[in-house]
């Protein structure tokens, strides 16, 4: 298939349709409103359903209903709206319902700004709602990867019966890049014998539920969920690494920040510095093991994020205190430039080329 130039937010919608998603429930919020705009236009053409809900709270609960009834379903929002969706996300995780949730992050806290940020890392990877649950969290770095991960996300959601969050930001949502829709990623949703479709008098009722009033049963359910998350940790880690085995400094960055870091790396390499990159593609499960391959004599790991240091916690867990960790971040919707990132790297590396 030939390449088309698409805005990230529109690519989300196109990828969802290509992945067989036919249901979208959402509420407008900058910088992701092109997602509902695109799907309100395109879903009816393929016999799908678009509903603009009265709130993000209602939207995510519509997702809960639609997913429970067996639909391949998407919702999208940006940080304050994702905060509102946490109630439903916890219920989806508890009732083990598949869906894809897109978060095009913006600056916070509160109403914050509408400019790009990565301040929902904790919310996404630690569970923003109540209870011990995990989402599969995918972090695309460019629009093509956004398309690929949205399509993969639907498959993973169905495979694990778990909500998947695609964590982007205002930049990837708003920017245009060429994309290609890869045929091999298209898969039909599997049979869902657990879904509510009406008993037809032929089976016992199916019940979509996260309530267990007996503590023993709820603990058992939690053990089951934890075993599932463990399986994700074993099978679903995705990471890109560059030159980490003999770098004097390794960057850790994800999403759009990682591509800005790549430009900084090119600058530093021109100057003769040996630098590498670990770019987690899955934020849960986190690629802790990738850090074991870092040059043990490297001077440090520089985590770069558009927040005050959230993924930094996972980097610290990964290196177990064996390698010094450094941080460079911009907040409030400010996007770090390659020059300032390179400056910080030079500061850590000193004269050591």
């Amino acid at each position: 298939m030939s390449k088309v130039l698409m805005k990230g937010n529109e690519a989300v919608g196109a990828a969802a349709i290509a992945a067989g998603c036919r249901y979208f429930f959402g509420y407008p919020i900058t910088p992701q409103s092109e997602v509902p705009e695109y799907l309100s236009r395109e879903l009816p053409k393929v016999g799908g359903v678009f509903v603009q809900a009265e709130s993000e709270v209602a939207a995510i609960n519509m997702v809960y209903g639609a997913a429970g009834a067996g639909g391949r379903v998407l919702t999208s929002s940006s940080s304050p709206g994702i905060a509102l969706k946490q109630e439903g996300i916890s219920y989806l995780a508890g009732a083990e319902l598949p869906c894809v949730i897109v978060d095009m992050m913006r600056g916070g806290p509160g109403l914050g700004s509408i400019q790009p940020s990565q301040t929902d890392y904790f919310l996404a990877t630690r569970g923003g709602g109540n209870g011990d649950y995990r989402l599969l969290v995918l972090a695309p770095s460019d629009v093509q990867e956004l398309v690929d991960l949205i399509m993969l996300g639907f498959d993973l959601a169905d495979e694990y019966r778990n909500p998947v969050m695609v964590l982007g930001d205002g930049m990837i949502g708003q920017m245009m890049e060429p994309v290609e829709f890869k045929e091999d990623l298209k898969r039909e949703a599997p049979e869902k014998p657990w879904a509510t479709t009406g008993t037809k008098g032929a089976r016992k009722p199916n019940i979509i539920n996260s309530l267990y009033l007996e503590a023993e049963l709820l603990e058992e359910h939690n053990h089951h969920l934890q075993a599932k998350y463990e399986k994700m940790r074993e099978k679903e880690v995705r990471v890109e690494t560059y030159n980490i085995e003999d770098a004097d400094l390794v960057f850790a960055a994800y999403g759009t920040t990682a591509r800005i870091v790549k430009t900084a790396i090119a600058k530093l390499e021109e100057e003769g510095y040996k630098v590498g990159l670990i770019r987690p593609i899955t934020l849960f499960p986190y690629p802790y093991d990738a850090f074991k391959n870092i040059n043990p004599n490297c001077k440090g790991i520089l985590t770069v994020e558009m927040n005050a240091g959230q993924m930094l916690d996972d980097v610290k867990i990964a290196v177990e205190g064996k390698i010094p960790t450094h941080f460079y971040g911009r907040t409030g919707g400010m996007v770090p430039g390659p020059a300032e990132i390179a400056d910080k790297a030079r500061e850590i590396l000193g004269g050591g080329r």
């Binding site: 130039l5 900058t30 708003q174 759009t256 790549k262 390659p338």
Partner: protein, 185 residues
């Protein structure tokens, strides 16, 4: 080769559109491209801008800090982005709306009365195309054929009947900078 472009002006002057045309044309020619808009309240009446990268290598940061070319359609944008042009880079100024000269002496500056030319052509909406024509004449980053193909992609098949006047606007912009290049030589 990597061309990093900032295009800036008032919302409604078509700065986003010519950025998309360049990006599309770059893609048609098999280059790596990205288009990044400013977004938010400034789109409604304030200053709008977009960053375009056309490169032989995969695009890293889509954000343009060190621009090889800057295309400016209004005065606030000149004040904001004049400093972003790299030494030896190009700055295109719409003199119809900007009454000051560039203060830089280490870059190539082109002065184009784009609104006046568009008005002469009978369609003030093609101001952006005059600037685009001037830019392409100087940089030759993509071919005119690719730009014409991109026009249909950006504006849709229904606007193809307006392609001739847009071509004319681009040609006028190109002609003007050819003369300026001659004078400077």
């Amino acid at each position: 080769m990597e061309e990093r472009i900032i295009i800036a002006g008032f919302g409604g002057q078509g700065v986003m559109a010519i950025g998309q045309m360049l990006t599309y044309a770059g893609m048609i020619e098999g280059r790596k491209v990205s288009w990044l808009p400013s977004y938010g309240p400034e789109m409604r009446g304030g200053t709008a801008n977009c960053n375009v990268i056309i490169s032989d290598k995969p695009v890293g940061s889509p954000l343009v800090e060190e621009a090889t070319s800057v295309i400016i359609l209004n005065k606030p944008s000149l004040d904001k982005f004049e400093g972003n042009v790299v030494k030896g880079g190009n700055l295109f100024i719409n003199t119809s709306l900007i009454d000051r000269k560039s203060t830089r002496d280490d870059i190539n500056v082109y002065y184009i009365p784009a609104n006046d030319i568009a008005t002469e052509l009978g369609n003030p909406k093609v101001t952006n195309m005059v600037m685009l024509g001037a830019y392409l004449e100087v940089t030759k980053v993509v071919s005119l054929e690719s730009i014409y193909e991109a026009y249909g992609k950006v504006f849709g098949e229904s606007k193809l009947h307006l392609l001739p006047i847009n071509k004319e606007a681009m040609e006028r912009g190109a002609k003007l900078v050819r003369e300026q290049i001659k004078v400077n030589a």
